[in-house]
């Protein structure tokens, strides 16, 4: 049985990751007291997803993606490569795009998490979502939620993004059906009208 990189991180628990992801202040505290050891076994974890509190009891090794997909039934974002390469799990955490498959749920407590489900309001699509539909920037649609979230993020950062900026912003996402040409078209169409 081989151990994947992420399995290793998971079995190592939070000890190695916590220092890497917590803010500088917290890291200093840890330097004095050592990282707090949590688990094994379920822990209460509270996530702020699309403006709503999600209360879970999960093991500390559960990723953000598995927490929202398997425990909160938010199945829009997908697991595809499961190791931070393909972008199908892209969510926005405190304004930055994050691969949810490679982020532990316990690390993002207290942060604002936005998933693909949080972009539309009722039946009104986000301008990026509308543009994807209008120009057929999707086929099977499995990568689409990740691409939509990544496009929203790049256009929030660069409201008048150039093709190069969009390209760089979306280079962390992979589509197997080959919708790239039309995703670029959708992003160019949505820019300027995209809102946060």
């Amino acid at each position: 049985m081989t151990v994947s990189r992420r399995d290793f991180l998971k079995s190592a628990g939070v000890t190695s990751l916590a220092t890497a992801v917590t803010a500088a202040g917290a890291a200093e505290t840890e330097a004095q007291t050592g990282p707090r050891v949590v688990g094994p076994g379920d822990l209460p974890v509270t996530l702020m997803v699309n403006g709503k509190r999600v209360e879970l009891r999960i093991e500390p090794r559960v990723t953000l993606l598995d927490a929202i997909r398997n425990r909160a039934d938010l199945t829009g974002n997908k697991r595809v490569c499961d190791r931070g390469t393909c972008g199908a799990c892209t969510v926005i955490v405190d304004g930055r795009t994050v691969y949810a498959c490679s982020t532990l749920a316990i690390e993002v407590q207290g942060k604002q998490i936005r998933t693909v489900e949080g972009l539309s309001t009722g039946n009104a699509l986000h301008p990026v979502q509308q543009a994807f539909c209008d120009v057929d920037a999707l086929m099977c649609g499995f990568c689409t939620p990740g691409f939509v979230v990544a496009t929203v993020a790049v256009l929030e950062k660069h409201p008048n993004a150039t093709r190069e900026q969009i390209s760089r912003g979306l280079d962390g996402n992979v589509c197997r059906c080959g919708t790239f040409v039309r995703i670029m078209e959708a992003a160019m169409k949505a820019k300027g009208v995209a809102r946060g």
Binding site: R69, T75, C81, L119, D134, M139, P145, R176
Partner: protein, 710 residues
């Protein structure tokens, strides 16, 4: 066949209609198999062979049975059985969370006795190769021969003799293979990520030895198949058995590594070819000994020579078996391989007779190829692409960046066959169209609604398409680019017949004969007097409590077969690093009557991009010593990203008179060959093997400097 035809002046067909399920897909509301969460559902996980070839000595399930949260454990292989490739299924477990299922799978103790393995074609063909496969490590097919080969070569002024090859790639469906199985007594409901709900029903029934009548398969959305998802496979049967044992719904989706190892691949292809040409550029003879591997026990055939007319030819093919996951159909099976092997050769032959590659190809097109539009496409494409600016082989420009152009042609079938459909028109005017096909991303759901709406003279929103379920009438698997050509005639026939029934009810109220009526713009009115008619809803009030309910099926005359296409590529090559950058692609393609222009174009874009991956990036790499795949992931199994995608122009040739023909596969055939020829044109060095990875490009350039690859 006078009764059924496509409208001469369609309102919807051929226009750009956005796909109906776009909003569900962009919001995350679309529920793929992977997203099905059933009450009380638990998670399955498989244990697979880490060895390329071994005998299973023993399987101890007991440590897993005692693990936290475990609800079911099964052995798939018996002690004494052999595993024939890394990833061959051995056992499985189901537990209440995915994490616990993974833990428990690790606890299953399997003892193996490793056996000698064949990790590559070279190892399988070696004189001292161990006998691994019953019946031999190779299997040679019949020789295909026409004419007197030596007489053909005697007429040749030039002969090119070389070896060409392509590599193995995997499908990399973004949604991995898998399913959710739920039993209700002896009845199984399976949500499957599949290209064929009906073939899967048969697969479950056969594999579990239960009646087909007890199986329902549902696929509302699926995340890519490309030819690899027609059956429940071992994981489907295991999932059903785990669900039975645990008395709970089980979700079993493969992980990325399993997906690379055990869900199919495009076989490799290679050939040693001798080909002759006269001094005025006429092909004379072709002699090819080909081989390829489809993995453990699977075949590797492909067409050769491809398209061009070698009047005298001989070809033998040898299937080579290795200890790797078996192949499955992959987007235009065999054609990208045969196309590459032939098209590189064609450019070499053109250079020998100092002819332009386009002119050379046009001179050697087959004499009788029904529906083939190659000659016209070569001419149109060359003009649109700026082919006249192409330099001879080897970019004379100074500096390390060389650019070049290449061309390639292809063909495909795409014929329709026996789909069935059902339509209900109800007294409130609503319309439901049912067909047991599935949408694999091509837009099938949308074209079902388009054809019904077109026939009934209604807007798309007035028609509800129901697909992806064995509760609906039979339709075959989505393979061979046959879906559009199978489904749309069935919908047309069924809705025409339903409309006839409605006309019969409406005609007396208008004082007309049913055959004088037409449905248009949401009304039913006289053909020659649009003012004399009724609104759709008012017409449907005449239906009463018993809906108009009609079954129908595919009939000949509404679909066609045989597509052709030509593609042009422009690429730049950095001769210091060997990195190839594709800058432009032009794809010309026919597909009969275009149903939805938007989704048809998307398929052509997709085919081209898939082939850029085939040409430049993806490669299944197996370690020659251990027989292990070294890149069963997505960071070392490379696929194009946004920055790798060139300018792509698609020219679809609408030919309504030919009926509907599928387009999913043909556009992916030519691209890699056109790119390889562009690289040859840029560098002056011939690379006869895919992928065009930098080390191969550099090696070919070095070889060219040292005395020539040509």
């Amino acid at each position: 066949m006078a009764k059924y035809s496509w409208p001469e002046k369609p309102t919807l067909l051929g226009s750009a209609v956005t796909r109906l399920d776009g909003p569900d897909k962009v919001t995350g509301r679309a529920r793929y198999t992977y997203d099905i969460n059933r009450p009380g559902m638990i998670y399955g996980r498989m244990v697979r062979s880490p060895f390329a070839h071994a005998r299973v000595v023993s399987i101890d399930l007991s440590p897993a049975e005692k693990a936290p949260g475990v609800r079911a454990v099964i052995a798939w292989k018996e002690p004494g059985a052999q595993v024939m490739y890394q990833g061959d299924p051995v056992a499985a477990v189901a537990a209440d969370t995915e994490e616990r299922a993974r833990d428990a799978a690790r606890l299953i103790r399997v003892r193996y006795e490793p056996l000698p393995h064949l990790a590559s074609v070279e190892q399988a063909l070696a004189a001292d190769a161990p006998a691994v496969f019953p019946g031999g490590n190779t299997q040679t097919g019949a020789t295909d021969e026409t004419g007197d080969l030596e007489a053909g070569f005697a007429k040749a002024a030039h002969i090119v003799e070389a070896t060409y090859s392509t590599h193995v790639i995997t499908h990399v469906c973004l949604e991995t293979h898998g399913c959710v199985c739920e039993w209700d007594g002896d009845k199984l409901t399976a949500w499957v990520s599949t290209q064929g709900v009906y073939p899967c029903r048969i697969g479950f029934a056969d594999g579990l030895k239960i009646p087909q009548a007890n199986v329902r398969v549902i696929t509302q959305y699926m995340g890519g198949g490309f030819g690899s998802k027609f059956a429940p496979d071992v994981q489907g049967l295991i999932c059903a058995k785990l669900a039975q044992q645990a008395k709970a719904p089980v979700k079993l989706m493969l992980d990325r590594k399993e997906e690379h190892l055990d869900t199919g691949n495009r076989p490799s292809a290679a050939a040693h070819i001798r080909a002759g040409v006269t001094s005025d550029g006429m092909l004379t003879a072709f002699d090819g000994q080909s081989w390829g591997t489809g993995g453990a026990g699977a075949l590797s055939g492909f067409p050769l020579p491809y398209i061009y007319n070698f009047p005298i030819r001989k070809r033998t093919h040898k299937n080579v078996f290795i200890n790797a996951g078996p192949q499955r159909a992959m987007r235009a099976p065999g054609h990208p391989q045969g196309c590459f092997l032939t098209e590189i050769l064609m450019d070499e032959l053109a250079d020998r007779v100092k002819m332009d590659p386009v002119a050379f190809r046009m001179r050697n097109l087959p004499p009788a190829a029904p529906n083939a539009m190659w000659a016209e496409y070569f001419t149109r494409g060359a003009k649109a692409f700026g082919w006249d600016k192409r330099h001879a082989t080897g970019d004379p420009a100074p500096g390390p960046i060389k650019t070049g152009m290449g061309v390639s042609a292809h063909r495909w079938g795409g014929a329709g066959r026996g789909s069935q459909a059902h339509v209900d028109i109800m007294s409130d005017g609503s319309v439901v169209v049912k067909c047991g096909t599935q949408d694999i991303g091509t837009g099938t759901r949308t074209i079902v609604a388009m054809v019904a709406a077109e026939t009934l003279g209604l807007p798309m929103s007035a028609v509800k398409p129901e697909i992806g379920d064995t509760m609906y009438p039979f339709s075959g698997g989505s393979g061979g680019s046959t879906t559009a050509a199978s489904v749309t005639p069935a919908i047309r026939v069924t809705t025409v017949n339903a409309l006839d029934q409605l006309f019969a009810k409406v005609a007396p109220t208008l004082g007309a004969k049913p055959e004088d009526l037409v449905a248009q713009g949401g009304r039913i009115h006289l053909k020659d007097n649009a003012s004399k008619g009724v609104a759709w809803k008012d017409a449907c009030r005449l239906i009463g409590t018993e809906p108009i309910s009609v079954d129908g099926k595919w009939e000949d005359g509404l679909s066609g077969a045989g597509t052709s296409g030509v593609q042009f590529a422009e690429a730049s090559v950095d001769i210091e690093t060997g990195i190839v950058k594709v800058t432009r692609i032009l794809a010309i393609q026919d597909c009969g009557l275009i149903v939805d222009k938007l989704t048809a174009e998307s398929q052509a874009y997709g085919g081209v991009i898939a082939a850029i991956n085939f040409a430049l990036f993806e490669d299944r790499i197996i370690d020659r010593v251990t027989g292990q795949m070294v890149n069963p992931n997505m960071e070392w199994y490379l696929l194009a990203g946004m920055s790798d995608v060139p300018t792509i122009d698609i020219m679809l040739n609408n030919m309504p008179e030919r009926g509907v023909i599928g387009i999913g596969e043909p556009p992916t055939v030519s691209t890699a060959s056109a790119i390889a020829n562009a690289v040859r044109n840029a560098t002056g060095a011939t690379i006869r093997s895919l992928p065009l990875h930098p080390h191969k490009v550099l090696a070919a350039i070095e070889q060219q400097k040292a005395g020539g690859t040509n």
